[in-house]
């Protein structure tokens, strides 16, 4: 039976050959990736897959519907076009848009291999589940089961709550083993009441007459203070601030089992997607770097070059107010390659402040390729920008800072000062541009209230949203909840106990 080719997601024989060709080029150039499966989809399927964040099997939720309508509509209006989608999985799955021209397909295929290599090798992704496609399907069927048991509205509104807390995770958590095992402690531990009776550790002294010298009074006092401080910490719950608020809620909030599972699902997916947010610039830069190298040097026929360039110009166009991660990423990658090829690194180069000498510096080190492979393995966007965005690059790439003019609402170029640009850039990328929030106290005021802390670093929270979010946390915690923050340079606590939100006088943290 011959199937209508439009009904299958199989590639055409022509595209299959191209995929094989590009794959072998990518391998020869040193890229290292999971097996990659390409599928052909039409724009509706593409919009659908994109709305689900790449996973057609995700749990049901209205926001995917909203996203779908938005994407499909902007496609219909010709405003934007999704060329490609690739997901971090083993094997990698990538989707090609059926209506793309052959040159576009070639570009996308090469681009995808760049991403796949990045997924496999960059350290940020090292803890992600490589069977996420299956995992997402699992999540989907679990949520669907709860919907059947509990009801669509109830489950969906609980998902809403979880999603509004989705960003309260510890993005570095997967790489660190943080020890906060709950200790089995005796509730009637006397030492908690009078910690000054605790045994103080002494240095060993074999001879009695040396005791006063080895363990002098001042030393003992110091030790005792330390012991008491430790004990005080134990009284606290949690002992030290917890960044992974979702984990804390999972462990200690009074949730029913289905709620706990839904929250766990949302948290797991947030951790899965976090590395993509952490490496957006690098990941795109890396993929563009490789697709342009593979295509222009190895794949393109003469007749295709113009079309390719046209497309490429679209991908790396400057977009004014918003930094184009494709452009910034690929330019910085090439900048690094160039510097290391010419030996523009090391103490001698750093100390050199003659612009002409710096410019013409060439030691023919030829370490560029080696260096960018190293960069793609060990960096994330923040360290990438922090380490390699230098003054020369800043000027070449025509970066600037802008501010919104208060009166006209227009964005105005503020300045082109290297330090300001870099600070601003790093600032917006820290914690994905979200506020840093952690759990300070799970037994605040000794009444089982929850106290969160916003580590204020110059920017206030959006208060109305903070209140709404707090309401959602209260629904999970079931006891009054608080967040300590700074509002217009004053310490404040926003308090919500289920009735009316209040803003109270704040506390000073050390």
């Amino acid at each position: 039976m011959v199937m209508d080719p439009r009904l299958t997601s199989d590639l055409t024989p022509e595209l299959k050959d191209i995929v094989m060709e590009i794959e072998s080029h990518a391998k020869n150039l040193g890229l290292d990736f999971f097996p990659t499966i390409f599928e052909m989809v039409d724009y509706q399927q593409m919009s659908e897959i994109a709305a689900y964040g790449g996973f057609p099997t995700r749990y049901p939720h209205w926001r995917f519907g909203m996203e779908y309508e938005r994407i499909a509509k902007s496609y219909e209006y010709g405003l934007s076009l999704i060329y490609e989608m690739v997901i971090n999985n083993d094997p990698c799955y990538a989707y090609l848009l059926r209506s793309n021209s052959l040159v576009d397909q070639k570009t996308v295929i090469a681009h995808v291999y760049g991403h796949c290599d990045f997924f496999k090798n960059n350290y940020c992704f090292s803890h992600t589940n490589r069977k996420t496609l299956d995992e997402m399907a699992n999540h989907g069927s679990r949520v669907r089961r709860y919907i059947e048991e509990i009801g669509h509205d109830e489950v969906e509104s609980f998902i809403d709550i979880c999603l509004s807390l989705e960003n309260l995770i510890d993005q570095h958590g997967p790489h660190i083993r943080r020890e906060y095992k709950p200790k089995d402690k005796d509730n009637y531990d006397e030492s908690l009441i009078s910690p000054d009776k605790l045994p103080v550790p002494k240095l060993p002294s074999l001879r009695g007459y040396m005791e006063g010298y080895i363990n002098p009074e001042s030393y003992l006092k110091e030790q005792q203070a330390k012991v008491i401080l430790e004990k005080e910490k134990e009284k606290k719950f949690p002992e030290s601030p917890v960044r992974d608020v979702l984990k804390f809620l999972l462990d200690y909030a009074p949730l029913s089992s289905w709620q706990r599972d839904v929250l766990a699902i949302v948290r797991e997916e947030a951790y899965y997607f976090a590395p993509q947010g952490q490496t957006k610039i690098m990941n795109e830069g890396w993929a563009v770097y490789w697709h342009s190298k593979i295509l222009t040097q190895l794949v393109l026929k003469d007749s295709e070059v113009i079309d390719y360039c046209d497309h490429y110009a679209g991908v790396v166009q400057m977009s004014g107010q918003r930094l184009n991660p494709y452009k910034l990423g690929v330019e910085l990658m090439r900048h690094i390659e160039k510097r290391w090829d010419r030996g523009q690194y090391g103490l001698e180069y750093t100390l050199c402040d003659d612009p002409l000498v710096r410019k013409n510096w060439n030691k023919s080190a030829n370490k560029g390729m080696e260096k960018i492979f190293e960069v793609r393995k060990f960096h994330n966007d923040i360290t990438f920008i922090d380490e390699f965005l230098d003054e020369d690059f800043c000027e070449e790439a025509k970066l600037f800072t802008w501010v919104q003019d208060r009166r006209s609402g227009q964005a105005i170029i503020h300045d082109r000062d290297f330090k300001t640009i870099k600070r601003e850039l790093l600032d917006t990328m820290t914690n994905f541009g979200h506020p840093l929030i952690d759990v300070i106290d799970g037994n605040f005021r000794n009444r089982g209230e929850l106290l969160l802390r916003h580590r204020h670093q110059g920017k206030d929270l959006k208060i109305d949203w903070a209140v709404e979010t707090l309401k959602n946390i209260q629904k999970v915690w079931n006891r009054p909840v608080n967040i300590a923050t700074v509002i217009e340079s004053e310490n404040k606590i926003i308090h919500f106990d289920g009735s009316e939100p209040r803003i109270e006088k704040g506390i000073q943290f050390e």
Binding site: G65, M66, Y68, R70, F400, R406, P435, K459
Partner: protein
């Protein structure tokens, strides 16, 4: 398609949002300008889940491009994304398409409007079986062959019971899908709305806008209730003439006011085209209530009593407040018909915010 469910859930939320904002839409006229072919594009604030986020004291950021400090940043075009975007702020509104019919339904729910009772012609209203959706249970006669076949095929492939060379598909009970239906009672009748408006000098732009908004929603609701809806427009000062919709809202006339002229023309139109035994006739008259003379007012009452009221479902008089009008006509009507006349609804529309109440008054009787 799996997405269908999610889109429907989203639409349900949107419906709620529209309901919440209905008052604003009714009085602002935002929607009328966005009315396409049976679809209305509604601007709504983007539905977002709250998060801990930074407030926007002042927007700032890093960009890339030409220009000196102090220059405005050129707005780049959106880039071809790869579907991973979405963390950036910016788009805080969205547009959703809603059919006029659905909108009218929302209006009806929100205003608590009763279903319109047809003018004594119940026999014409018809039951319709509307097929919608697919169920797992049902009578064999409604079995959806294609869906059932697909389900069976899916099942057989997944358990390895399918050989392409001998493609025999045997559906079992779990595979069967049935069409489901709903009985809808649809009045088959037709209706005509005749709008009359006073365009004398005292009716300003704002007054006309109020009339325009009111009639938009009246249209929407009546269209929701009748399959076949005609609209006719009459403007009058001292003389009346029939115009098209555009002229109706945009003519600026001046001069005296003889309301009877409009009623006479209205009578003529009904006699010519709309026999009252077959048509549900709705008359809406908007004026600032400044009639030329008491004599003319008396003539109006005669016209109403003798012909217009007996042949129509409803006569509604909306008096738009204007600075110049005396508003006498409203008082005269009230005196003549009292507060409780079956077929006459008299309502004063103070300003835009009054439109909602006017709609409730005009349509609240279910006639």
């Amino acid at each position: 398609m799996k997405m269908e469910t999610d889109v429907n859930r989203f639409r349900k939320i949107v419906r709620g949002k529209i309901k919440d904002n209905l008052k604003r839409f009714i009085s602002s006229g935002e929607l009328i300008g966005r009315q396409g072919n049976k679809q209305v594009t509604i601007p709504l604030p983007r539905i977002d889940l709250p998060r801990f986020e930074f407030g926007n004291n002042q927007q700032r950021g890093v960009g890339q491009g030409e220009g000196e400090p102090g220059d405005a940043v050129s707005q780049g075009q959106p880039q071809p994304g790869d579907g991973e975007a979405g963390q950036k702020p910016g788009e805080h509104s969205m547009e959703v398409d809603v059919s006029l019919d659905e909108l009218a339904g929302i209006l009806g729910e929100e205003l608590g409007l009763p279903r319109i009772e047809d003018k004594g012609k119940k026999n014409i209203s018809q039951k319709k079986y509307k097929y919608q959706g697919v169920l797992r249970n049902g009578p064999e006669s409604l079995r959806n062959f294609k869906r059932t076949y697909k389900e069976a095929l899916k099942r057989q492939i997944s358990i390895g019971d399918y050989t392409p060379d001998r493609p025999i598909i045997i559906p079992i009970k779990e595979d069967k899908r049935y069409r489901s239906f709903r009985i809808e009672e649809k009045p088959e009748a037709s209706a005509v709305i005749i709008y009359m408006m006073d365009v004398s000098g005292s009716m300003g732009d704002e007054q006309k806008e109020i009339v325009r908004l009111t009639s938009f929603w009246l249209n929407a609701w009546l269209k929701h209730n009748y399959d076949n809806l005609d609209t006719r427009f009459i403007i009058h000062d001292a003389i009346a003439r029939e115009v098209d919709e555009h002229t109706f809202y945009h003519t600026k006339e001046s001069g005296g006011t003889l309301i009877s002229s409009a009623y006479k023309l209205c009578e003529k139109i009904i006699l010519e085209s709309y026999p009252s035994s077959e048509w549900n006739i709705y008359l809406f008259h908007f004026s600032d209530g400044d009639n030329w003379s008491g004599n003319d007012t008396n003539e109006c009452m005669t016209l109403l009593d003798n012909f217009l009221l007996p042949s129509s479902n409803l006569f509604s008089y909306g008096q738009v407040e204007s600075r110049y009008g005396s508003g006498q006509f409203l008082k005269d009507l009230e005196k003549h018909y009292g507060e409780q006349n079956e077929k006459v609804i008299i309502h004063q529309i103070k300003d835009r915010d009054g439109i909602m109440n006017a709609l409730r008054a005009f349509l609240g009787r279910g006639k």
